[in-house]
Amino acid sequence: MDRAITPELCKCIIETALLAASAPLSVSALRGLFDEDPGPDLVRRLVDELRADWDDAARGVELVQLAGGWRFQTRPAFQVYLDRLKEEKPPRYSRAVMETLAIIAYRQPVTRGDIEDIRGVTVSPGVLKTLESRGWIDVVGHRDTPGRPALFATTRRFLDDMGLRSLTELPALTEIERIMDLVDTTQIQAADAAADQETD
């Protein structure tokens, strides 16, 4: 039956699989739909066509590429309506949770000690548990120091849930980073000079 498959049917099958999937599907996973592999180029072309088709139809759902592959998701503009069907609101995370997540995302892999150093406060176990149970972080190893502390990193699920294809798509740490580079050199010297004046 598969033998006489047309690109049209092929596209229809891919669309169906993407609509039904409960996780993003990679191109290679999509190739596995068929008895006879249509090859990566055809699948990639058809997925691109699908994305364009759905965009053109101005639907409330779009096909997006994420770290784990392709997935259909609703457009944010429609959330106001969808929220009305929800019985409970999605969790809002505290600043402690979001800051811990940011540290892990940008500086991974990090230990709990690293996080505490940056935030200047102890990290409650609940914070890490919250992020772990959401599937956004996990332990990727242990640092070879006394106590062998666990090293945390973000997961692919984190990228998928944030609509990212890779960590490089995280918003850049621009301005402050630039200042930080200067801190070690000229600025510190300037500060030195200023400090000398202050100590009168």
């Binding site: 918003p171 402050i176 100590t199």
Partner: protein
């Protein structure tokens, strides 16, 4: 004057509140008779993520340059907050006290006279604090940006339509090739054992034997002629006839004729259809 109670970490103080200027920047009035209701203090404490956050707030509120922190007024400010919190018997995290100690240490180091040349390379005592403050501020901003990014369940939903599955057990696929291999295996074994001679047989005769047995399935007498399908052509009729003979030989069917030229009836051998 009391501390402003409507504390928001990103809030900046306006110039009017400044009592002095340091390096051209406005300085805050230092609170004298400090009274803050305990519940308000709790709110203040909750509003900050820790000593770095509080320090950063004090610096930003006073519009001070992080890279050139006036240690003396900042330390005083910080200590006053801490004192107010301690006076209210609030459970103050050790992190806040540790930071107070650190600020005092930096301040005292900066007061020490420094030899002129030798320690030109010695770092500013504030350098580590500055680094930590900037790193924390960066983290704060990154967290805010991360939080503002569209996120599943809050800003969009996954599409995952129901998969209509017939509840069928998945059965193994068998191809002709599999069948062929199985047969080859049997024959190979048979050859090795030399127990059984697997002869060649006209397959179509066997097929017709099965077909005839099916026709006789009801257990009743069937007219002999109806077992033959003229559509099959002469060869087919011959094969069907051979099949009947074979069935008779294997005593699978009974053939009866009451008298010469009377219709011939075929029936499954007695009891054959019991369980069929």
């Amino acid at each position: 004057m009391n501390l402003p109670l409507a504390l928001a970490p990103v809030e900046f103080i306006d110039d009017k509140a400044a009592i002095a200027r340091l390096y051209g920047e406005p300085m805050l009035e230092l609170p004298k008779d400090l009274y803050i209701p305990p519940d308000a203090l709790q709110i203040i404490l909750d509003a900050f993520e820790g000593p770095l956050d509080l320090l950063l707030y004090l610096i930003r509120r006073a519009n001070l340059d992080v890279l050139d922190i006036p240690m003396a007024p900042l330390t005083v400010q910080y200590l006053q907050y801490i004192e107010a919190m301690r006076a209210s018997n609030l459970d103050l995290a050790a992190d806040y006290l540790l930071m107070a100690a650190m600020l005092l240490e930096i301040k005292s180091r900066m007061l020490l006279p420094r030899p002129a040349r030798e320690d030109a390379e010695e770092a500013d005592p504030r350098a580590e604090l500055v680094r930590r403050l900037l790193e924390y501020e960066q983290t704060k901003l990154a967290a805010a940006r991360l939080d503002s990014m569209p996120r599943v369940e809050r800003d969009f939903e996954w599409v995952s339509v129901f998969v209509a599955e017939k509840v069928v057990e998945r059965l193994p696929d068998v191809t002709l090739h599999d069948l062929q291999l199985s047969w080859l295996r049997i024959m190979k074994k048979a050859r090795l054992n030399q127990h059984h001679r697997v002869g060649r047989e006209q397959l179509s005769v066997r097929e017709h034997m099965t077909a005839i047995l099916r026709k006789l399935d009801g257990g009743t007498f069937v007219v002999f002629d109806t077992l033959f399908e003229p559509d099959l052509g002469p060869a087919g009729v011959v094969v069907s006839f051979l099949a009947v003979l074979e069935l008779v030989k294997e005593r699978l069917v009974d053939v009866t004729q009451n008298e010469a030229f009377a219709p011939i009836y075929v029936k499954l051998a007695d009891g054959s259809c019991d369980n069929a």
